[in-house]
C-alpha cells in the first residue's frame, strides 16, 4: 500500500538524493517504503514504466507532455532544474556565445538535445543568425564530448551539468550555463525540465504513498541544499571520494539545480520553455504538440 517502486538509472545523479533519503531516514520518517529498481539507461526507464514494472521514473517534461497528447496519461512533479552548459578549454579564446562562429562544437545527445536548441535560440537572440550555419556541430554521447574536448577534437562542448562539473574540475571553463541562456531568453528562472513521472492511475491508486515519497524527496533536497554534512556520506557514489575538487564542484553545481518548491498551478515557466523548444526545435524535440499539454504537472501535490 505505501510501497513505491522507483525505476532509476543506476549511475544517475538522482541516486544522490535517494542515498540522502536513506541516510537521513526520511523514508521511514515519512512512512513510505521505497524499492529501487536499477535501470541501465533512460530508455529502459520508459519501457519499465509502460510495462508496469515500476511506479515512478525520472523523465523529461517534454516526454510527459507528448505522451499525454498521444493518450497515455502520465504526469509529473519537478525534480531538478539542472541542465548543462557550454564549456571550453581554459585557454580558449571563446568568451561568449558569439565567439562560437567558425568553431567546432561537440553537442551531447544529438541535434534534438534541449540544450542545443536553447543555445541556438540564444544565438539567434544575440546575433540574429543561425548557429548551425555559423559553426560546425558534431553530435555524440556525453563522455565522448568531454573526451574530445580534452583531446582537442572539438573547440567547445555543450554537455550535461555533471559532465561539465568533471570538466571544470579538470580546469575547463564554463562560458554560459543553459540556465543562463534561458534567462537571456527572458525566463526569470530556469524551468523545471526533469521530474518524477508516474501514471495518473497510479496517482489515484497510491496517491497517499506518492505524496509521502514526494515529501521525503523535497525534505532531502532541502537538506542537500543547506547541509554540507549530508554530502560527506555521498562522496563514494558521486565517484569523487578521492578528489575534493571534483566533489566540491559536483556539490555546488548540483545545488544550483535543486527544486525548492512546487505549485502545480504555476506552469508559466514550463510553458515558456516548451514554446521556445517548440519554436526552435520543432516536433523532433517536443513531439507533435506546440504547447505544453495540460496536466503535465500533477495537480495532486504542492510544496
Amino acid at each position: 500500500q505505501d510501497k513505491l517502486v522507483l525505476g532509476l538509472q543506476e549511475s544517475g545523479t538522482v541516486q544522490w538524493e535517494i542515498e540522502a533519503i536513506r541516510q537521513l531516514g526520511l523514508d521511514t520518517e515519512h512512512g513510505v517504503d521505497l524499492e529501487i529498481r536499477p535501470l541501465a539507461d533512460s530508455r529502459a526507464g520508459q519501457i519499465a514504466l509502460q510495462a508496469g514494472a515500476v511506479d515512478v521514473i525520472l523523465s523529461d517534461f517534454t516526454w510527459v507532455s507528448a505522451q499525454r497528447a498521444a493518450g497515455s496519461v502520465f504526469t509529473m512533479v519537478p525534480h531538478s532544474l539542472a541542465v548543462g552548459g557550454l564549456i571550453v578549454p581554459a585557454d580558449s579564446a571563446i568568451e561568449t556565445v558569439t565567439d562560437l562562429e567558425g568553431k567546432v562544437i561537440g553537442v551531447a545527445g544529438g541535434p534534438v538535445d534541449k540544450s542545443w536548441v536553447v543555445l541556438q535560440a540564444y544565438y539567434v537572440a544575440l546575433t540574429g543568425g543561425s548557429l548551425s550555419e555559423a559553426a560546425e556541430a558534431r553530435f555524440g554521447a556525453p563522455p565522448l564530448i568531454n573526451e574530445l574536448l580534452g583531446a582537442g577534437g572539438i573547440e567547445a562542448g555543450l554537455n550535461f551539468w555533471h559532465w561539465n562539473a568533471r570538466a571544470k574540475a579538470e580546469g575547463m571553463r564554463e562560458v554560459i550555463s543553459v540556465a543562463g541562456m534561458f534567462q537571456g531568453l527572458g525566463l526569470s528562472e530556469p524551468p523545471p525540465l526533469l521530474g518524477w513521472t508516474f501514471s495518473e492511475d497510479l496517482a489515484a491508486e497510491k496517491g497517499e504513498a506518492l505524496t509521502r515519497f514526494l515529501d521525503a524527496s523535497f525534505a532531502a533536497k532541502a537538506a542537500l541544499l543547506a547541509d554540507d554534512e549530508v554530502w560527506d556520506g555521498l562522496a563514494a557514489i558521486m565517484g569523487a571520494a578521492d578528489d575534493p575538487a571534483l566533489f566540491a564542484q559536483l556539490r555546488d553545481d548540483y545545488r544550483l539545480g535543486i527544486v525548492t518548491g512546487y505549485d502545480p498551478d504555476d506552469t508559466r515557466l514550463a510553458e515558456l520553455a516548451f514554446a521556445l523548444l517548440a519554436e526552435f526545435g520543432g516536433p523532433d524535440v517536443v513531439g507533435a504538440q506546440t504547447e505544453l499539454a495540460p496536466g503535465t504537472f500533477w495537480g495532486g501535490y504542492s510544496k
Binding site: 509502460q50 498521444a70 493518450g71 497515455s72 544529438g110 541535434p111 558534431r138 555524440g140 574530445l148 577534437g153
Partner: protein, 254 residues
C-alpha cells in the same frame, strides 16, 4: 512442362506473401487495439506524411548510403580474408583467436575507440560498421571455402587455371550459397549496426531519427521508418538478389 507449371504456381505464392503479412499484422493490431501497436494503414499514412513533410527520404538516403558503403567494404574485405583463412590453414590457426575476439567485441567498444581516434565523422561511422561486420563475413566465407570440393581443385590444377579463372569458375559457384547467406543476413545486420552507431554519434539517418521517435514512444513513426527501409531491402531481394540467384542456380534446377 510440369516443371514450368510448378514455377508459375510458385510465383503465385510469392505474390501472396506480402499481402498475407499485412493482413496478419492488421488483424493483430486490431485485436490488440493499443497505441503502441499501430495498424499497417496507420503506418502507411505516417510514412506518407513523413516522406512528404518530414525528413524520411533524406534520413533513409543517409542511412542507405552508410549501409551500402559499410556493406560493400565489409563484404569485399570479408571475402578476401575469408578466402585467405579458408585456404591457408596456418593463417587460419594463427588468427583464429583474433576472429573470435573480433566477433564478440561489442559495438560500443568499437564506437568509442573509433569516434575518439577519428572524431565524430562519417569515416569513423563507416569504419565502425565495417569492423563490426567483417568478422561475420569472414566466418561464413571461411566455412564455405573449407567445404570446397577437392575434386574440383584437382581439376583446376590439371587445367592449369590461373587464380582468376579458378576464383570465377571453380570457387565462386561453390561459394555462392555462403555468399548469399552472408549477403542476406549481412544487409540486415549492417542496418542494425548503423542504427546503433547513428544513435551514438551522428546527426541524421534512420537510426538517429528512430531514437528521437523513441523518446516519445512514437511506435507508428518508428515503424514507418522501419517499413520504408524494409521496402528497400525487399526491392533489393526481389529486384536483384532473386534474379541473380535464378540465373546462377539454373544448373541446380536442371
Amino acid at each position: 512442362m510440369k516443371r514450368a507449371g510448378r514455377e508459375r504456381g510458385g510465383i503465385g505464392w510469392e505474390v501472396l506473401s506480402l499481402p498475407l503479412l499485412l493482413g496478419f499484422w492488421q488483424v493483430l493490431a486490431m485485436l490488440a487495439a493499443h497505441r503502441l501497436f499501430p495498424t499497417p494503414i496507420a503506418v502507411a499514412e505516417a510514412m506518407a506524411t513523413l516522406a512528404l513533410e518530414g525528413r524520411l527520404l533524406e534520413d533513409l538516403g543517409k542511412t542507405l548510403a552508410r549501409a551500402l558503403a559499410g556493406f560493400g567494404l565489409a563484404m569485399a574485405l570479408g571475402i578476401a580474408l575469408g578466402l585467405a583463412l579458408g585456404r591457408q590453414a596456418w593463417l587460419d590457426r594463427l588468427f583464429s583467436a583474433w576472429l573470435v575476439v573480433g566477433l564478440n567485441l561489442p559495438a560500443i567498444i568499437v564506437a568509442i575507440v573509433l569516434f575518439i581516434w577519428l572524431g565524430l565523422t562519417e569515416t569513423a561511422l563507416i569504419a565502425a560498421v565495417v569492423i563490426n561486420k567483417v568478422p561475420l563475413v569472414i566466418v561464413t566465407i571461411r566455412e564455405g571455402v573449407r567445404s570446397f570440393s577437392a575434386d574440383y581443385d584437382e581439376l583446376a590444377r590439371a587445367l592449369r587455371l590461373d587464380w582468376w579463372t579458378r576464383l570465377r569458375r571453380i570457387h565462386w559457384p561453390q561459394l555462392l550459397p555462403f555468399m548469399l547467406a552472408a549477403a542476406r543476413t549481412g544487409l540486415s545486420l549492417i542496418w542494425k549496426i548503423v542504427l546503433v552507431f547513428e544513435v551514438l554519434g551522428s546527426d541524421g539517418g534512420v537510426g538517429y531519427r528512430v531514437s528521437v521517435f523513441f523518446q516519445f514512444f512514437d511506435v507508428t513513426a518508428i515503424l514507418a521508418y522501419t517499413t520504408s527501409f524494409i521496402l528497400v531491402v525487399l526491392a533489393f531481394e526481389y529486384g536483384i538478389l532473386r534474379v541473380l540467384e535464378r540465373r546462377a542456380f539454373a544448373w541446380r534446377r536442371a
